[in-house]
Amino acid sequence: MQISARRLDKTTIFDVTGDVDLATSPELRKALLHELRDARIPRVILNLKAVRYMDSSGVASLVEGLKVSRDSGAKLILYGLTPSVREVLQLSKLLKIFEIYENEEQAISP
């Protein structure tokens, strides 16, 4: 997995690539918590277009990010869900809990 950050005005977009699993989800968690809790960015957008695989540890990182975003009045937004990501969120009954868009344009200006 690789994460790279694009920092816009009051928004950070993380481009995530590869597999989010037990080996890599701690890095995603760290990136989310840093941006939402430490840097207090009001809006964090996750571009998941290039995520080939996500398991429950990846979902746990997203849920933790969501909790922290709510605590700090920020927004966590997802877009570009691949079948793997969509399925684990559906199995977790979390598709309706997250704010999810089709593409970056919609995610940036909803």
Partner: protein
């Protein structure tokens, strides 16, 4: 295929980086056996979650402990018809599983963790735990042309 229906055996270490290696092998194996793309993803997810649990709970996150996985192509009878299924057995010498904890948790309570067993149960047609000679044994079955899972296309 061998006479016993044995397709593949793996012995790996309890290192998180190995999950990706197993996933790639298994995805290919399931595709070769004729499972649909969605079924392949389901099998891969279930085995990845089970291995994650062995690494985290069975071995307390410690690396370098052995995990054995075997993959067999077995005959099954369903609704009076003959069918085929992929049987996956995972074995570890880790901590004895507390079966009371395995059931998972209600999903309404949105919080990190506690999803793995739920995924395994949803993705596979049969899930069995056994303790045998000081080892944990997890047996997972996926029917070819089995019931469609809730997770869709």
């Amino acid at each position: 295929m061998g006479r016993s229906g044995l397709l593949l055996k793996l012995e790996l270490q309890s290192n998180p980086e190995m999950l990706c290696v197993v996933r790639h092998a298994l995805a290919q194996l399931a595709e070769t056996l004729g499972f649909s793309r969605a079924e392949c993803r389901a099998v891969v997810l279930a085995v990845d979650e089970a291995l994650t649990n062995i690494i985290r709970h069975g071995y307390g996150g410690e690396e370098g402990h052995p995990i054995h996985a075997s993959f067999r192509w077995i005959a099954v009878r369903r609704d009076g018809k003959h069918g085929r299924a992929l049987e996956i057995v995972l074995e570890d010498s880790g901590k004895k599983i507390d079966c009371a904890k395995l059931c998972g948790r209600p999903l309404e309570d949105v919080r990190p963790g506690g999803l793995g067993m739920h995924f395994i149960n949803e993705c596979m047609d049969a899930v069995e735990f056994r303790r045998k000679l000081g080892r944990n044994q997890l047996r997972l079955i996926k029917l070819l042309d089995g019931p469609k899972p809730e997770m869709g296309a």
